[in-house]
Symmetry: C2
Subunit: 235 residues, 2 copies
DNA sequence: CCTGACGCAATTGTATACAATAATCTCTCA
DNA sequence: TGAGAGATTATTGTATACAATTGCGTCAGG
């Protein structure tokens, strides 16, 4: 992370995810270079990486812009993700070890702890969630699957709203993880796949509902919508 | 394609696919730059692209090598591809238009023509095959799916052996395409998905059989193995 | 008022020099 | 002889200058 191109990557990515650089804005290499305190060379590097993650789009004439995500795009990404993570769960069920199962239990225990208090610790929740899903991917043992999913999990529209939260929804996510653990313990690939797919698709619909609620009225960000968005971020 | 980085990309890619740069060989930027007649800058660009396509792998210290594909890796890639292309076929079935259907028929007609003669035109076959699958992807209408599949279709081990051929196997591939067209004409997504998945998985097993035959004895490249490899390349 | 061509400004592409880092070699000492 | 420290070489990372391309505004002609 000490290389200039890594710093540029992290900085630009943050600016996009935080909304400082909203969708559609042009990303000039020189301007970014100045902002990041490096030269254009590492910025170009960073832009290529972000382009592969689809956070940045390029025109046919090589100009870069912050990618715009339509609701259809989000749907598309979730559909793919539901399929790929479902597949990962199926693979993992057939290769699950006692150690990995313990890791999963530990990650979900961390989640339980994060949501137990009155004011849930969303950061800890997301971290536990990340660990949980990463552990499954690792057991699945497909390098390609990891690479392909990496491009799908980073959704600006998600992260920008990820710090809202709703206790009930977070608890449901924990509970689905518990069910996944049960499926893994029984090495039931079909079951694990079904749970995982539905886990992801439910998240999509929670997002879509929140999106509708939010776009209906500008100030209509009520509790229900916030909760839904939180579920989304939490998978 | 006139930009230097594009020329470098094409040149390096060719050297890998043709076997001139065998798996495991280190790819020094300077050496490649000289070989391609450009400076290191566009070579770096090209290497990043090839890395994303998994034709090139990098160590933790940023040195590039031609990627090595184990049989397990190939299996992994085919499994994913069977799933993703099957999904694409399902989507496409629900959105198929008369125009696109005509395109598919035309592409498969080109394939029929390529394999009709005594000495099949493998180049024309592969091109028709590419058109066929690309048309399906286009109808499926998922940008992400296109991007993800792109990383899976280029397999060095496949292309290096793609110029072997076996008439019977090529004809079977054509025939499966015809069946896909029938499924699309009836807008039967489940059918189309099943055919496509089996289409890809059969290709994998043809490849695996050929691989075993070839590694059993160095000079054991008999007709059956050649035919199998050809099917593989043809999806 | 519209259209298109022209030229200037902005942006990206490439080459090159130099800095930083990793790999390799060698020599010494145990 | 083997291991490790240090020097040497090879390789990659970064900055900068310049070339090529694209975008955009302006102005002339209809």
């Amino acid at each position: 992370m000490s290389r200039a191109s890594d710093r540029a990557y992290a900085a630009i990515r943050n600016m996009i995810l935080s909304g400082e650089l909203p969708p559609g804005v042009q990303l000039g290499e020189e301007a970014l270079a100045e902002k990041c305190g490096v030269s254009r060379t590492p910025v170009r590097d960073a832009l290529r990486r972000l382009e592969n993650e689809m956070l940045v789009a390029r025109t046919d004439t090589q100009r870069s812009f912050v990618a715009e995500w339509s609701l259809d795009d989000v749907r598309d990404a979730f559909d793919l993700r539901a399929m790929l993570e479902g597949y990962a769960a199926r693979l993992a069920a057939g290769r699950m070890t006692a150690d990995s199962l313990a890791q999963l239990r530990s990650a979900n225990a961390q989640i339980a702890q994060a949501i137990a208090r009155q004011q849930p610790d969303v950061g800890a929740f997301l971290e536990g969630n990340r660990l949980f899903h990463a552990a499954i991917l690792e057991v699945a043992g497909s390098r390609r699957l990891v690479a392909q999913l990496a491009a799908l999990v980073e959704q600006p529209v998600v992260w920008r709203t990820a710090h809202h939260y709703g206790p009930a929804a977070l608890h449901r996510s924990w509970s689905e993880h518990e069910e996944l653990i049960a499926a893994f313990a029984r090495r039931d690939g079909a079951w694990a796949e079904a749970i995982m797919s539905s886990h992801i698709m439910r998240a999509y619909h929670a997002y879509a509902d929140a999106h509708r609620a939010l776009s209906a009225g500008p100030g209509a960000a009520n509790d229900a919508a916030d909760a839904a968005i939180a579920v989304e971020a939490a998978e």
